[in-house]
Each structure stands twice: as C-alpha cells, then as structure tokens.
Symmetry: C2
Subunit: 306 residues, 2 copies
C-alpha cells in the first residue's frame, strides 16, 4: 500500500442512540449517544467522515443538526419506523465499574446496515460493537477497504465466540479493552491474550486500558500511550469509541498505516478520549477544536520521554 | 544540591524474611524474602548498597551468603534472639489479587532499627513498608540524607493515617501502588489522590501500577513508564521493592535527582521489577546481570516513542 499524502475517508458503522447516564455526582437523560456518534465526532477532526446507522422517528432534530454541523456525512444514516435505540448506564464511584440499567434496541432490532458504496473503497472503516452476525454482513459489503478496525464486547464474546473470531480474522485491527481481551484470549495475562487474537489474522491489536491509556501490539512489538491525567472524569461513556474514531481519523489523515502513523494514531486516540470524558455525553467532544487536540498531543510527547 | 558524578550510596532499611509463596501454578516454601532483600538486590547493580534489618538465629547461612556474594554491605544486619520474620502469600489466577496466608513477626516484633551512621550521610535512603512509628524513629536517625523514599501499605494507612502522613511529610518521595494511593488520598481519582500526598510535603510521588507500569508525579508534571510485557508472571512478590531499589540505585549512580535522572530511574525500576517477577523469590533478581538490565532498558526506549 502506498503512503499517499491525500487524506483518506473514514466510514463509521455503529449505533446512534439516546442515553440516560448516571454517575455518583450527577445524571442526564435523553442525551446523544451511540458508538457511531462518538467515533464520527472524533474522526471528523482528522478526515472526512461518513456515518452509517439507523435512528427512529423520535430522534431529535437537534441531535441531527449537531452531527450535520460538524460535517459528518449522514447520507447513510437511515430513519426507520419505530423508536431510536436507547441505553441507560450507571457508574460506580470508581468510574471503571459500570452497570447497564436498560437497553431498548428498538429500530436496531431489525437493522440491516447498508454500507455506503460511494464511500467505502480505499476507506478507513470502523465496525462498532454489535452482534457479530451483523458485523459479518457488514464486512461482506466492505469492498477494497484501506484499513478495517473492529470493536466487540464481553456479551458477544461470551454469546458467540466463533462468529466474533470470524470477524476478527477479517479485520486489520481489533480494538478491545483489557477485560475483553483477557476474556477473548482466555488468559489473565494480556500479552498471551493478545497473541490469541493476533493468531487469528489481524495485524494489530489495540488494548484500551481506561485510566492506564492504550497499548498497540503487532509483530513489530509493543507501543504504550498513557491516559491523560485528569483531575475529574465526568462521564466515561463513549471514550472507547472516541478513541477508535480519532485513531482511525488520524490514520486516514496520514493515509498511512505504517508503524509511525499507528503510534501517532494511538496518541491521538488517547487525547480525544481524554477530552470526551470531561463532560456528559458528547458535550465536550462536540465543542472541541483541533487546536485543543494538538495542544494536548504535544503534552503527551513529554509524558514518556526519558 | 550539586550533581556530582561520583556515585552515591544506597541505604535500605526494611525487612528480611523467609517466605512461603503459592500461585495458581506452583508453590515454594522457606524462600528468601523481605522488602530490604528485594530492594538491596536491585540497587546493588547501580550503587554501593547498605542494608539495615534484623534476622533470627534460624536465618539460613545460604541466604546470608547470597547477599554477601552480591556485595551488599550487611554490617547493619542484626541477628537477634528468636526466629526470623516469616510471611506467607497466595496469588489468585489474576496475579494482581494476593491473600496473606500468615505473618509471624518473630524478631521483627521488638526490632528497633539502628541506622548505619557510617553510611547515611549524603545517602539515598529507602524506608521499606513497616509500622509508621518505626519509620519515624528511623527518620530521626537519618542525618543529612541526599534523598529519602518511603513505602507504606493499606494496613498502616488504615491503622495510623496520622503517623503515615508524618512520615510522608519528612520524605522526598513516596512510593505507593495505585490502590494505596487512592486509599491514602481518599479519592478514586489518582491525580487527586496524588495531590493529597504532594500537599504534605514530598516533592515526588511514584505510583506503582503493576502490569501498567509506574507514574512519577511532581510539580513538574507526569512521567509514565509502562510495565514490560511479559508472557508469564511467575511470582509478583517483591516487585515493588525491587522497583524502589533499582529506582534509588539509579539515582545514586547518577548522584542526581533532577528530572532526567528521576525519569531514567523510573524506567530502571520497571526493568528490574519485570525481571524480578520472572521467577519465585529472588531467584531471577539474584542471577541477573547488568547487561540483562541494560538490554531491556533499551527496549523501553522504543515502547513509548512516537
């Protein structure tokens, strides 16, 4: 693959939803959420971004406006009969512990995503966490992508490990948090768990480690980026998807997936994730500027230099 | 303080004991252990090291020999009437979870450490984890040290937070693991918890984060070093003390506590800790060469570069 300097396009396929979120300090209801939302709002800082998802008739116009105003291509955002996907989550005082209070799949239940063919060739594709059968149907439609990253979660790993493995085998990079990596790999030891995933075929695994940052693993070895030390985490929701969006956007901007580009992408992922958790929902992510991102990126350069 | 190029001396004051250790894979009985043991065996790679502690009449000659042969100054290692300190620990499959199976203080119960006055002036001092009343008595004897680091643990933080605070206030650097930092600081948020400690007076806090490495925090900001990615952790016992010993030894070798020296010291700490956990007890630490350490140190240079 050539390393052209023309930026690539990001295609994000995931959920768009309405969230109720509770923390020990505060709570919000009916806020914008979903994996595709966070990922697209993060990647658009770096590269043109197309979002493929479905919402219901009740999806607030203000949410649509927010996405449109931030130059996200919504031509593949379907509006179906029925209600928008809704999710509720409650965080413990230790923000690493989250309980899902409810899930109303609504229009997601019968969603059969159409991958936007005008966008997908030579694109940088993010498959958000969902049923691996759906992820496989999406992959069937992803023709000639430049780079495909995929997320999953404990529920699907337990429910359908075989299909999750099939999905991983067909992607370039698997992005999981450390608990999901341990669960999938069947090892408490992360390097071994990651090896199990790499052995399936993907060239890269990114392990998201919450307050400990992220690690990129490939046959070339390990790269570690810390999390930005924040005095207050308001709402961790979407941090992982924002990470993935910024990671992919940064690769698309460089139109490169070489080692240097991947390392920079991990740092950009950590930077944007750190802003995301500073406010509820997408509040901080939506108001962020590229200058904010670049300033914090520079700070990361000093975090690990010796 | 000047940054002389003549190496300083390390003085380690802590426990020397006999351990029984169980993991999910294997177990060992009657092996060499104790905070001073691990710290001194780590620091001696970098700088001349004096160890102050107490053992009983039953302390095996082979253990003494091992320490002597590795050039550790044992002139302040007292042999008291009674039995040597004994400790038993059992690790879960997840090596981050440890249960203490027994503690026999034995000669430690009435131990009143004498700080070796021939060694302490201008030295780099490690106060291993113990009763904060004892740590305060030690600090009274530490005259004109160059740099003092201290460790503590949940038991003492809960039992005598006031005295632990007094100890921290009198040291240059507090070394804790993340759970201890959260507990002492009274915040789940690590940056806030660390701020609580820095506000007491020490210039530096090092947060040991197990498989996630270590962070150095001061008014100058944050430095993060990852843990070396190991396919197998055999026995985590003593990793934190070996970290502290290598950290301090590296500072003593440079005879400097400037920011660059501290960052290198954190990395050396992570390097030596990573070797320590590759075998039970001090088996790997005792057989290690400086060349092993330097090779892995070079690898760390690539882990976070972008």
């Amino acid at each position: 693959m050539s390393n052209s300097s023309e930026p690539g396009r990001v295609v994000v396929i995931g959920t768009v939803g309405i969230d109720d979120i509770e923390t020990a300090q505060a709570s919000v209801q009916g806020v914008l959420g979903g994996s595709a939302t966070y990922a697209a709002l993060a990647s658009r800082f770096f590269a043109p971004t197309t979002m493929s998802s479905v919402v219901g008739h009740d999806f607030p116009a203000a949410h649509l406006e927010l996405l449109t105003e931030r130059d996200i291509d919504l031509s593949s955002l379907e509006t179906a009969d029925g209600l928008t996907f809704r999710w509720g989550g409650r965080y413990a005082v230790d923000m690493n512990v989250r309980e899902t209070t409810f899930v109303d799949l609504n229009v997601l239940e019968h969603f059969d995503p159409k991958v936007p063919q005008h966008a997908v060739a030579e694109s940088f594709v993010f498959l958000g966490n969902t049923d691996p059968s759906i992820q496989l149907r999406i992959l069937d439609q992803v023709v000639d992508p430049r780079f495909v990253i995929v997320d999953s979660m404990d529920f699907w790993i337990k429910a359908d490990r075989r299909r999750v493995s099939e999905v991983f085998a067909r992607c370039d990079c698997v992005v999981l948090n450390d608990e999901e990596a341990r669960l999938f790999g069947g090892h408490a030891n992360i390097p071994r768990a990651v090896r199990t995933i790499l052995d399936l075929g993907p060239s890269y695994v990114v392990v998201k480690r919450g307050e400990f940052g992220a690690a990129l693993v490939s046959d070339d070895g390990w790269f570690f980026a810390p999390a930005y030390p924040l005095d207050e985490v308001v709402d961790p929701t979407g941090a992982g998807d924002a990470f993935a969006g910024a990671f992919l956007g940064s690769l698309a901007a460089a139109n490169s997936t070489d080692n240097a580009a991947l390392r920079r992408a991990v740092v950009y992922g950590c930077v944007v994730a750190s802003f995301t958790v500073e406010a509820f929902s997408v509040d901080r992510l939506a108001e962020l500027t590229r200058h904010d991102i670049d300033s914090r990126y520079v700070e990361f350069g000093d975090f690990a230099a010796f």
